[in-house]
């Protein structure tokens, strides 16, 4: 297909998203409008975004145009290039299943007091904002779309505003989103001083080293807040559980990636020559984020909070891989930089699909079993078998075991890190393998997180009455999850094809293509150095498993005999005797004790232990206290006397005149 189709298709995606927002206003009078109009239009938007992304990636060209809107003298620049294409693909790949899933999920809200029209309209605007960020080619339109995305998602987070924790989560989210927006605006301000507000001008002009470093720090903090980097991550575990599940899926799977896109665009595309100092910063921040995210995810009882912390961990590993790319690029090894960047993009894509699946699964559990707490779940695999097996696919993928997609990106990151022997600086040579070591620890922790989530939630026996009476969800919700499972299988089993697609975005940023000839063997560094063939792995696993089943199948009699579980010869064990979710993670709590803010106590008759996040007590509470004290000082100015205010005005005027003269 012709490359010039990409922009019109992307335009169609934006239009469909806006149309979805407009049509859901009808839902105030006619609740079916959401099912009949709004969600199908979101689906159209998803398909169009996916198509536009694919075309942009396949053609490898940049298409630009000017919109007849915007400020006088600063029209809106719109562009689509392979980098934007890669993220459009992620957005579309998640949006379509969410559109399939949504109608079934929002049916539960129809009888409530919450306004469906607001939900639909904000969802449409949220998607339109994210599309706008990806398509913008000047700072003004970028910031406009960014704020649209932030504000629309704020209203989605506080959708269930009758619950106090939702309101608190939304407030924290709004606060940090505004700080992030301000920081990004300042980063663009630094970049725009030398050129202009359009991206091509910024790309052409390079600020000097100090200003570039300032812009880097501002961009890292601004986009990092949105992407959930430690210690700016605190909004994320609050906001994700508060939002409706299909919105959490969009936020975690796509919005965090849009922040990643913004960072890539500013630092890797616009900022100018790479510096190894940036690389080290990224590696350290990424490794810390990944480790802390995984350690905190292990201790969560709320399934959606657990997934939120896992998102923090995954974005940490993406930033770690970006750091490796920056280091290799600065050291003059563009081929290795391309490999690391490919690993980062692959991880972003794989995480988008997996996390969307898991959030949709968590939503299905909430829908079918009316709980998010692991301590009340158990045995859901037998009551919600389809959701359960698909959730298992997501858990396996997140734990980075072959042959699923999470493993591919981990493998690529390790391969990039193992090329550290090519570097000359002694600090880098030692830091890069250490980064790989921390990634190894993170991966092992992630496996604990998801073994626990699936094993406690879906296996064993029900721990509460509502879970004992859980029911499977409807076909639409299952179809959304099944679509994601199919996409994950495609990405996992044909990594070479996906890598060659993402390769054109990597080519755009590093000037090299991470080569892997053929379609079966993933050999980014040549066939003798390292190779991986997931399709063969799956084939052998299935072959051996089936062979074993055929050989060992009993010739006569029933396949198995069912009895009570072993209880040391006493009465069979009851569900209350199972390991609890907190009990399962107790060894980790003991080993990593300094990381957690531990609270033990009795809630009524139940013993309760909570492993909280230390960044609240270490950073945010002192910061809040400082703000309060500053505000107290400022309040002294507010004495309430008109003449005193006038005196302040006089003093200010005198001071200004003095400065001007």
């Amino acid at each position: 297909m012709n490359a010039s189709w990409a922009l019109p298709l992307a335009g169609l995606a934006v239009a469909a998203a806006l149309g979805s927002a407009a049509s859901s206003l009808l839902a105030a009078r006619w609740p079916r409008a959401l099912t009949v109009l709004a969600f199908p239009m979101l689906g159209v938007s998803g398909i169009a975004a996916q198509a536009a992304g694919l075309i942009a990636l396949a053609s490898g060209a940049r298409q630009t145009t000017l919109l007849p809107a915007g400020l006088p003298g600063l029209p809106w620049h719109v562009a689509i290039d392979p980098l934007a294409g890669a993220f459009l693909l992620m957005l579309g790949a998640v949006l379509l299943p969410v559109a399939l899933y949504g109608p079934g999920y929002v049916r539960a809200f129809r009888n409530g007091r919450d306004s469906l029209a607001t939900l639909g309209a904000c969802t449409g605007l949220f998607v339109a904002g994210m599309l706008g960020v990806l398509l913008a080619a000047d700072a003004f339109l970028f910031m406009l779309a960014w704020e649209l995305m932030s504000l629309a998602s704020y209203f989605l987070v506080c959708f269930q505003h009758d619950q106090p924790e939702s309101r608190r989560a939304a407030f924290v989210y709004l606060l940090l989103a505004q700080v992030a927006g301000l920081l990004i605006l300042m980063a663009f301000g630094v970049l725009a001083t030398t050129g202009g507000f359009a991206f091509p001008a910024m790309r052409a002009a390079h600020p000097d080293a100090t200003w570039a470093a300032i812009a880097f720090i501002l961009a890292l903090m601004g986009f990092g807040t949105k992407a959930g980097l430690v210690p700016l991550h605190v909004w994320l575990p609050e906001a994700h559980p508060a939002a409706p599940s299909h919105i959490s899926a969009l936020m975690s799977a796509v919005m965090l990636k849009v922040a990643l896109y913004g960072f890539l665009r500013v630092v890797f595309d616009l900022l100018g020559p790479p510096q190894w100092g940036y690389g080290i910063t990224l590696v350290v921040v990424g490794a810390t984020t990944a480790l802390l995210g995984a350690m905190l995810a292990v201790q969560q009882v709320d399934l959606k909070r657990l997934l939120a912390y896992s998102s923090i961990e995954n974005l940490g590993t993406v930033f770690l891989a970006l750091g490796l790319a920056e280091i290799f690029q600065a050291a003059g090894h563009p081929a290795m930089a391309a490999l690391a960047l490919l690993a980062a993009l692959f991880q972003a894509l794989s995480h988008a699909l997996l996390k969307a699946l898991l959030f949709l699964g968590a939503g299905a559990v909430q829908h079918g079993a009316h709980t998010r707490s692991l301590e009340q779940m158990g045995g859901l695999l037998r009551r919600m078998p389809r959701t359960g097996w698909m959730f298992l696919v997501g858990c396996l993928g997140m734990s980075a075991v072959p042959p699923l997609s999470g493993f591919v990106s981990e493998w690529l990151t390790f391969q990039a890190a193992l090329q550290a022997w090519r570097l000359h600086d002694s600090l880098l040579r030692i830091l890069v393998p250490l980064a790989a070591a921390s990634l190894a620890l993170t991966t092992a922790l992630a496996a604990v997180v998801f073994v626990r989530a699936f094993g406690i939630g879906f296996l064993g026996r029900a721990r509460s009455r509502q879970v004992r009476h859980a029911h499977e969800v409807g076909d639409g919700m299952l179809a959304g999850q099944a679509w994601l499972v199919a996409s994950i299988a495609g990405v996992a089993l044909f990594p070479v094809l996906v890598a060659s697609l993402l390769g054109s975005a990597v080519l755009q940023l590093t000037g090299r293509v991470p080569g892997s000839p053929g379609w079966l063997w993933l050999t980014p560094l040549g066939p003798t150095t390292a190779s991986y063939a997931p399709l063969l792995v799956l084939a052998v696993l299935l072959g051996v498993g089936l062979l074993g089943w055929v050989v060992l199948r009993p010739r006569r009699g029933a396949p198995v005999r069912r009895v009570d579980a072993w209880g040391c010869g006493y009465a069979p064990p009851t569900p209350d005797m199972q390991f609890s979710a907190m009990g399962f993670a107790q060894p980790q709590r003991r080993v990593f004790a300094p990381v957690y803010a531990l609270r033990e106590g009795f809630a009524g008759s139940a013993y309760e232990v909570v492993a909280g996040d230390r960044s609240w007590s270490w950073i945010y509470r002192p910061l809040g206290a400082l703000m309060d004290r500053t505000a107290d000082l400022a309040r002294r100015l507010q004495a309430g006397h008109v003449r005193r205010y006038l005196a302040w005005s006089l003093l200010t005027l005198l001071l200004l005149l003095w400065i001007v003269s």
Partner: protein
């Protein structure tokens, strides 16, 4: 640098230096005082072996002497004295566990990275094949200091101090084939005297406050003031 092109002796020196680094970690993590003394003796042995091997490689008789002094002092005499001190203070079963073992080891690993980074420019000017040992010995010195920071037991702090001296000796041997003999004898004598003084001190401290926990030394001034107050009151 291709390791395969080095003579076998230099390879062995590298191996022994790496083991000395490991012993520094073991010293840091070992909570039982008795076992820590044994680890310290092993570290002394490794350093002495490095000196002897370097002497064999460079046919330098004075390095043999250094090795012998180290062997006699650090492997036999001082561990024996510490042992005796431990028995007289009846601390054989005393354990001094780290407050945050994982955090301490993380800090230790970071110190090794830092030492390598700091020593890299120094090693550039060095011509000997075993110049990389400088980074290792610097790390051993810093780890000894770290041990003195994180340990509360005074005896463990002495071990940290002695381990620092081991690191310095290793650096001297590996980079310049040992210090001049006079300096070396002086240092050895200093260490010995320090050891004796420590022993006397410990007995005194133990007599007066009945513990060797250095955190409790900070209470001394407060308790004296309190004593004065109580004396004035009647």
């Amino acid at each position: 640098m291709n390791l395969g092109t080095l003579p076998l002796v230099d390879q062995a020196v590298l191996v022994l230096a790496a083991m000395a680094l490991f012993s520094a970690f073991a010293l840091l993590a070992q909570s039982r005082l008795l076992a820590a003394i044994h680890v310290f003796a092993w570290q002394g042995f490794l350093v002495a072996a490095v000196a002897a091997l370097t002497g064999a490689a460079s046919r330098d008789p004075h390095l043999y002497l250094s090795a012998a002094i180290t062997l006699g002092l650090k492997v036999l005499l001082i561990p024996w004295m510490l042992h005796r001190l431990l028995r007289r203070l009846s601390l054989e079963r005393q354990a001094d566990p780290l407050a945050y073992p994982a955090l301490t080891l993380l800090a230790a690993a970071a110190i090794v990275v830092f030492a390598d980074w700091v020593a890299a420019p120094v090693a550039q000017f060095e011509h000997s094949a075993t110049r990389n040992v400088i980074a290792i010995s610097l790390a051993i010195v810093l780890l000894g200091l770290l041990m003195m920071v994180v340990r509360r037991q005074a005896l463990a702090q002495v071990l940290g101090f002695m381990a620092m001296e081991n690191g310095l000796f290793l650096a001297a041997v590996a980079s310049t084939h040992g210090m001049p003999l006079v300096v070396e004898l002086g240092v050895a004598f200093d260490v010995l005297v320090a050891m004796v003084l420590f022993g006397v001190f410990f007995l005194q401290i133990k007599d007066s406050i009945d513990s060797l926990d250095v955190d409790r030394l900070s209470q001394l001034s407060a308790s004296i003031e309190r004593d004065e107050i109580t004396e004035q009151r009647p």
